[in-house]
């Protein structure tokens, strides 16, 4: 049945950044009989290259494309990532790690955090992170891949910290090797069908005309097709996520140790990242332009950055939100052209991969776009964005900070109703609204709630039933077991060195 009944759909991807090349490679690899893929990129337009840190889902994506993990890590100077260390978010001087992993296990059907809250009330609890293998490994700068069974050693996942400016070229090489046709050139005009309004071709500056049936807009915030041409409305979330600028500055490594986690430090008008790659340290300050000007942000970044600067700070502008419809007519936006939240929690690459995965699932059949499939794609993408949005807002809102206008604003702002209900359910009963389809589950919400000092008023009534000595004994044993397993792990740097195929030559 391979493509017998239908001609191939001509897919044109506009933009050669991370999103563009991931889209092109994904379609070319997974739907070779259904689609031909052309990608247009211009050397005159730089790539934003946001997202030096990723989420564990990237592993599945890379694997699905048949890319070798070691080759990918080597090419992008990648390090392993077990979570994010959030500093000064809830209160200055406090920190916690949001791990790619869980805290303890439920006992008698009751979530671990209820027992932790009870022990904490009795003054017997250690920091929540000590009951998480991933957090303990972060704190000790150690790494080993998780076990594939259901033991304690399997209770975490990992992602990568990589050089986003190298990821695009890596995917370009992969994409062109599996049949993506690359066109270098600037798009100067967009042709549309006068009746349907569908895009029919893109005209390049040198006169070339690239025709297509389906256009994927990966042109970044410019959003040439979905935004500028189709004028698809943008839903702005700046009132909830006020950061709209980032100053980024690469630096040298200060020490020979490389952390298997990202650091996010709250700043007076936003937050600052430190992302360790094999060959350098990524530093950046994400800030609200309404609360801080660009020069001041660059200055603050220079002062705070870890390592010696390898370049001057570069300013990236963005707007948190998403298109009302990510897919309109025969154009869909992937990456920044479709939506962007902000760099917190490293969701940018995930959201692009999510859209690509759904595009492949909902790919037009028999050369025609069915509006029902377009609606389904938009429904799925919107749900993901909305759920992630609430989780990001939580990081700003769950704070006691009152040291700047920025923090006063986010602390007191009205949050979306969907989040307000989640907060209230947590506060009153220490419960998490459950869903099985989405990005961040119970453990993530609990990490942020507790990490940012948002303790509930009450927890499950059943936690005081078992003998308190047995509970604290079991929890101590868990901590000891975690500590002992972490002790047996190699250092993150040592592990990387022992896996030479993953090391870039420069490292």
């Amino acid at each position: 049945m391979s493509g017998v009944n239908s001609k191939k759909m001509r897919v044109v991807v506009l933009g050669g950044g991370t999103a563009g090349w991931m889209t092109a490679a994904g379609i070319a690899k997974l739907l070779p009989d259904l689609a031909s893929v052309d990608l247009i990129e211009s050397q005159d337009i730089g790539i934003v290259g946001v997202g030096e840190a990723t989420l564990p889902h990237i592993r599945g994506f890379v694997e699905r494309l048949g890319i070798d993990e070691a080759a990918f890590m080597k090419a992008t100077h990648a390090t392993y990532k077990l979570g994010i260390d959030f500093r000064d978010f809830g209160r200055i001087g406090e920190s916690y790690i949001h791990p790619f992993g869980s805290f303890g296990e439920e006992v008698g059907g009751i979530g671990f955090h209820h027992y932790w809250l009870e022990l904490q009330r009795q003054g017997l609890a250690a920091e929540l992170g000590e009951y998480s293998l991933a957090v303990a490994a972060c704190r000790a700068n150690r790494f080993t891949p998780p076990a594939q069974d259901s033991s304690l050693a399997s209770t975490y996942g990992y992602a990568y910290q990589f050089d986003a400016t190298l990821f695009g070229p890596f995917m370009r090489e992969f994409g062109t090797s599996i049949g993506v046709t690359r066109h270098e050139g600037l798009v100067v005009d967009v042709e549309r069908d006068p009746e349907s309004g569908d895009v029919t071709a893109l005209l390049l500056k040198d006169g070339r005309r690239i025709e297509g049936d389906l256009f994927v807009d990966c042109s970044g915030f410019r959003s040439l097709l979905l935004g500028q041409t189709l004028e698809e409305e943008w839903e702005d979330w700046t009132h909830w996520l006020p950061c709209d600028r980032a100053a980024a500055m690469p630096c040298t490594h200060k020490t020979s140790d490389i952390r298997p986690y990202t650091i996010a430090t709250a700043m007076p008008a936003g937050w600052r990242w430190q992302i360790p790659l094999q060959h350098r340290m990524g530093n950046g300050y994400v800030f609200s332009s309404a609360h801080l000007d660009e020069d001041a942000a660059c200055e603050a970044l220079r002062k705070a950055a870890e390592g010696d600067p390898l370049a001057d700070p570069r300013i990236l502008k963005f707007r948190p939100g998403r298109r009302k419809h990510s897919w309109s007519h025969n154009v869909l936006g992937v990456g920044l052209a479709g939506g962007f939240l902000e760099p917190l929690e490293s969701t940018s690459i995930y959201l692009a991969q999510m859209a690509i995965t759904y595009l492949i699932e909902m790919f037009p059949q028999d050369g025609k776009i069915d509006p029902r499939d377009r609606d389904e794609f938009n429904r799925l993408v919107d749900m993901e964005y909305d759920r992630v949005r609430d989780f990001l807002i939580l990081h700003y809102h769950a704070t006691t900070r009152d040291d700047s206008d920025f923090w006063n604003h986010v602390r007191t702002m009205q949050v979306p109703d969907t989040l307000a209900d989640k907060l209230e359910l947590w506060k009153r009963a220490a419960r998490i609204e459950k869903y099985s389809d989405g990005l961040f589950y119970d453990a993530s919400w609990i990490a942020v709630y507790i990490g940012q000092g948002m303790l509930p008023d009450a927890h499950d009534s059943r936690v005081s039933l078992p003998d308190p000595g047995r509970v604290s004994g079991a929890m101590d044993n868990l901590r000891k077991e975690i500590a002992s397993q972490v002790n047996a792990m190699p250092g993150h740097m040592d592990y990387l060195k022992s896996e030479a195929a993953r090391l870039a030559e420069a490292a």
Partner: protein
């Protein structure tokens, strides 16, 4: 500083069926210092969660959790195992298909292999080759529960248990008694409101005499379709499913000779559907009658001596938890025993209550969260039932009804694209529901990826499956032999209790 909530002092469970008993048992286990009182109200023949002699694989986990062992069910309640449901004639006359339990249909097989091998257009009529290990085993009448302490070729097989309902209920009653669950027989004389939209106490009468009243912090309504506690609350609303499901009468046959089979069957007849339930204690036959069928035709279609006829009103509580009253089982949702979803839904909602058990004071948002999830569960059950009635041949038997939007969406995606949208709180796993759709004769669309699939992959999957099937058949003894072994008492009669609740 977070404080543990004050525990419930007393829970009153209204009902006398197996849903009430397992609820009492589970609650007593989870809060051993809370008094649990069962008010044994008279039963209702249309309480199909209470009548059910089986559930789905979720129940095995619930049993484990509350300490009811499989050995006890097999030895004391005529237990047996079902690996799959077999469907006959739903897509077309002569067509058949199977719905095995568990996630055993590997994603990569949901491609050409699954279509050509597991049923689909080419096999729209007639019996097609087995498409899952469960079918291979059921066809060969071989199975053993994997021991669990070592890998076996049967590890991916999931199963549901059957039992003799009265014996199973007795087994649970005896455990409940050992655990100190109190029991009062009587009827409701009056309900005293608590001023917060719930109930403060229930006055109990016996033979017209008031015997006293039961006060409680939490009431669990397991009283059957009448939902005698919940329906008495001003907030309570019921959602009628008759818009989407056909009016049904259920004709039950007298139990026949017991049998050991690894499958149950649901056939579509011109008169309605016929479910054959292979109880070790007796084959039970139930006919779900289409509206226009005469009694005489019905009796003939049943094929065995009739026992009773039950009329059913399908629907569910809009909010299963109102005030301090939580409805479970038939009190929360009432529907026909097609696909054995009745008790499964009751058990999953009980699981949700155990997860979200409140303190003495119920928080409105936790109630809302329970209701949100319980309503999704009920809606998914409704959609799964409705799926049966829109199977290609079933439309002609039961007549056309409008479909819920949620089901239209799912069927559209499946028939055009071979894809199932994710359904929160679904009654069946995606793999199971995919198999059900195939077994009911819905033509599957082709996924974009499988259109680009290398034909070699399908061939490789088929070969791998054949190897797995051979290994499974070698490992599994004849089911009869396994059951004979299970019936040998290993130790003095199993009390059915698997030790203390582990904290």
């Amino acid at each position: 500083m977070s404080q543990a909530r004050e525990r419930l002092r007393r829970i009153c469970i209204a009902g006398s069926g197996q849903v009430a008993v397992i609820t009492a048992l589970a609650l007593r286990r989870t809060v051993p210092d809370t008094e649990v009182v069962v008010l044994g109200l008279p039963g209702d023949p249309a309480a199909y969660a209470d009548r059910a002699a089986t559930a789905l694989p979720y129940t095995n986990k619930l049993h484990d959790r509350i300490g009811i062992t499989e050995e006890a069910i097999i030895q004391q309640a005529a237990g047996s195992h079902r690996l799959l449901m077999r469907y006959f004639g739903w897509g077309a006359e002569g067509q058949s298909g199977a719905m095995p339990y568990g996630a055993q249909l590997d994603a990569q097989w949901r491609t050409r292999f699954a279509k050509e091998w597991g049923g689909g257009p080419r096999n729209a009529a007639g019996r097609r080759p087995a498409g899952s290990l469960a079918e291979v085993l059921a066809d060969a009448a071989r199975f053993a529960v994997p021991p669990g302490d070592m890998p076996t070729p049967l590890d991916d097989i999931d199963y549901a248990l059957r039992w003799n309902m009265p014996a199973y209920r007795d087994l649970m009653v005896s455990i409940a008694q050992q655990l100190g669950v109190n029991h009062v027989v009587g009827d409701i004389a009056a309900l005293e409101p608590n001023g917060q939209g719930g109930i403060a106490s229930v006055a109990v009468e016996q033979q017209g005499q008031i015997q006293g009243k039961i006060e409680a912090d939490l009431f669990v309504d397991c009283s059957g379709p009448a939902a005698r506690l919940l329906s008495a609350l001003p907030e309570a609303k019921r959602m009628d499913w008759s818009t989407f499901l056909p009016a049904l009468r259920l004709l039950h046959g007298k139990p026949q000779q017991g049998m050991l089979a690894l499958e149950d069957r649901a056939s579509l007849l011109p008169e309605g559907w016929l479910v054959e339930f292979a109880g070790a204690d007796g084959l039970q036959i139930t006919l779900g009658l289409a509206e226009s069928i005469s009694e005489q035709d019905a009796l003939q279609a049943l094929g065995v001596e009739p026992a009773e006829m039950v009329t059913l009103a399908q629907g569910c509580a809009k909010d299963a938890w109102a005030g301090n009253v939580v409805a479970l089982g038939d009190a929360a949702a009432s529907f026909e025993p097609l696909g054995h979803l009745n008790l499964d839904l009751a058990h999953r909602q009980l699981g949700l209550l155990l997860e979200m058990l409140p303190g003495r004071v119920v928080e409105p948002l936790e109630r809302a969260e329970f209701n949100r999830r319980a309503a999704l569960m009920a809606q998914q059950v409704r959609d799964t039932l409705a799926t049966h009635y829109v199977a290609p041949r079933a439309r002609g038997v039961f007549g056309e009804k409008p479909l819920p939007e949620s089901l239209l969406h799912v069927l559209d995606q499946y028939t055009r694209r071979g894809r199932l949208p994710f359904r929160e709180e679904a009654a069946l796993l995606n793999q199971e529901y995919m198999a059900l759709l195939g077994a009911l004769g819905f033509p599957a669309g082709v996924t974009p990826q499988s259109q680009s699939q290398d034909p070699g992959e399908a061939e490789a999957a088929r070969t791998a499956f054949e190897v797995q099937a051979r290994q499974a058949l070698q490992f599994a003894p004849p089911y009869q032999q396994f059951m004979a072994q299970m019936m040998q008492p290993q130790q003095p009669a199993d009390s059915g209790i698997a030790g203390d609740l582990q904290y």
